[in-house]
Subunit: 237 residues, 2 copies
DNA sequence: GCGCGTATATTGTGATCACATCGACGCCGC
DNA sequence: GCGGCGTCGATGTGATCACAATATACGCGC
């Protein structure tokens, strides 16, 4: 059984869109590790469709850099992240996501804020029980609940694209660090800033939240640069 | 004869990439007006390939929002720009492009700066002779010569995506305003800032350049909102 | 002459087939 | 036992076919 599966909700949407959603969801949740090879036919078989719609979904994900097609190899896989790349992703996230949050501030409804509290509660619970998947899900829900309020589709999609690229690596980060010493996240401050309707306070909270998360990832990237010198014939499993 | 054509340079590259490049080039140069419908089979016929690689290229361009697939209509076309969308594009461009320019500053070679002067000269010439196509080409060359030096592929691609979206509309802008009262562009200031190696000066010049161009586009968008009340049976051509 | 319904053509979508290329496995010879 | 080499399988890519849905054009009836 693969980590990807179709919605199977009413056959209305185009198949390649369902395939895209399934893959994007798996990627953004970190269910597909970096460097993991993916093949059209295998995916198609797992999803019970022909390779055709998978090709279109994959083409779209390649355009968003959520997948890559090795030039020499011509094999399809989840891209690895270099330090240079992470730095760019960090800068980009530090720009769009505070921007989205600031735009959302005057549009935040009582209901949305309630959902925010709810997501944050789920997040804390997952954190204390060591549920990585639950944590990532709750964190994603929290952030995108905000972004959806911003009424800025272009920025929203940009943020989604960025998350698509960092998603696979978040799982790696948690694998190294565990959910124990995670961040004191800034969700509480952010919620308070939303309630007082202060866009600038929201902005700084969001930026701090993004920055700290990405710096954690940066540390992991850097720490894995040298510490595995040779490791001949010492494969795991 | 269509405005799109293949490179026909050695059959090395994948066909769908050539198709993508051809379409992207036509779009970024504004050779395909907004709301212009395109069809897979027509494009395929014009390019002398099967509809298959065209589908992949188009799928990629849809992901980049350079094309859109009308939900109801299910017809493929170049997206129109709303004011809200232009404002987001402006904000995004005002962030990435100065960022790219600042990153490029310490990496600017003598040769690159020479090319910048060359492009700017071509730009001025095209401007005085009213050559819209030449102006857009020279302006594109100028900007992306800078961005290529930044060594920041993620930002570079983001800038490309944004240009892909504004491209079709630039031609519309020129159609309304002509090349006459174009901007005093900030290219000279920018080149000077590059030579003195001042990233902040480069940043402000680039931001001013982008901002003024986009404000021009914004004016056109706003001015076309109401001024054509009915205009029944007054089709051009 | 004009409106409306039908027929035709064209559209995007999905499936299937054909092919060149590359990796992996296994066999043979040393 | 082990290295080189050939075969087989899998991969992405492209072409062609089939199909449902829609826009467009034509013609009939009023």
């Amino acid at each position: 059984m693969s980590v990807v599966s179709l919605d199977t909700a009413g056959g209305d949407g185009k198949v390649h869109d369902q395939v895209y959603d399934a893959l994007a969801d798996a990627l953004i949740k970190g269910q597909i590790p970096p460097l993991n090879p993916v093949s059209l036919r295998t995916l198609a078989a797992n999803l019970g469709v022909s390779p055709m719609p998978v090709r279109e979904a994959v083409r779209r994900l390649i355009a968003e850099k959520a997948l890559e097609l090795q030039a020499s190899n011509k094999r399809l896989r989840v891209p690895d992240l270099t330090e240079k790349r992470v730095l760019q992703l960090m800068k980009a996230r530090e720009w769009v996501e505070p921007e989205l949050a600031a735009l959302a501030t005057p549009r935040m409804t009582k209901d949305a804020i309630r959902r925010l509290r709810d997501d944050d509660a789920k997040l804390m619970k997952a954190l204390s029980s060591g549920d990585v998947g639950g944590y990532m899900q709750a964190n994603q829900d929290f952030h995108f609940c905000i972004y959806a309020q911003a009424d800025a589709d272009l920025f929203y999609d940009l943020a989604r694209t960025l998350w698509l690229q960092v998603g696979p690596f978040m799982r790696v980060v948690f694998g190294r660090l565990g959910t124990v010493q995670l961040p004191k996240d800034h969700h509480q401050d952010m919620i308070a800033a939303f309630e007082s309707g202060d866009p600038e306070a929201v902005r700084v909270s969001m930026q701090a939240d993004v920055r700290e998360g990405m710096e954690m990832m940066l540390d992991v990237i850097r720490s894995r640069a040298e510490p595995e010198p040779k490791r001949r014939r010492a494969q795991s499993k």
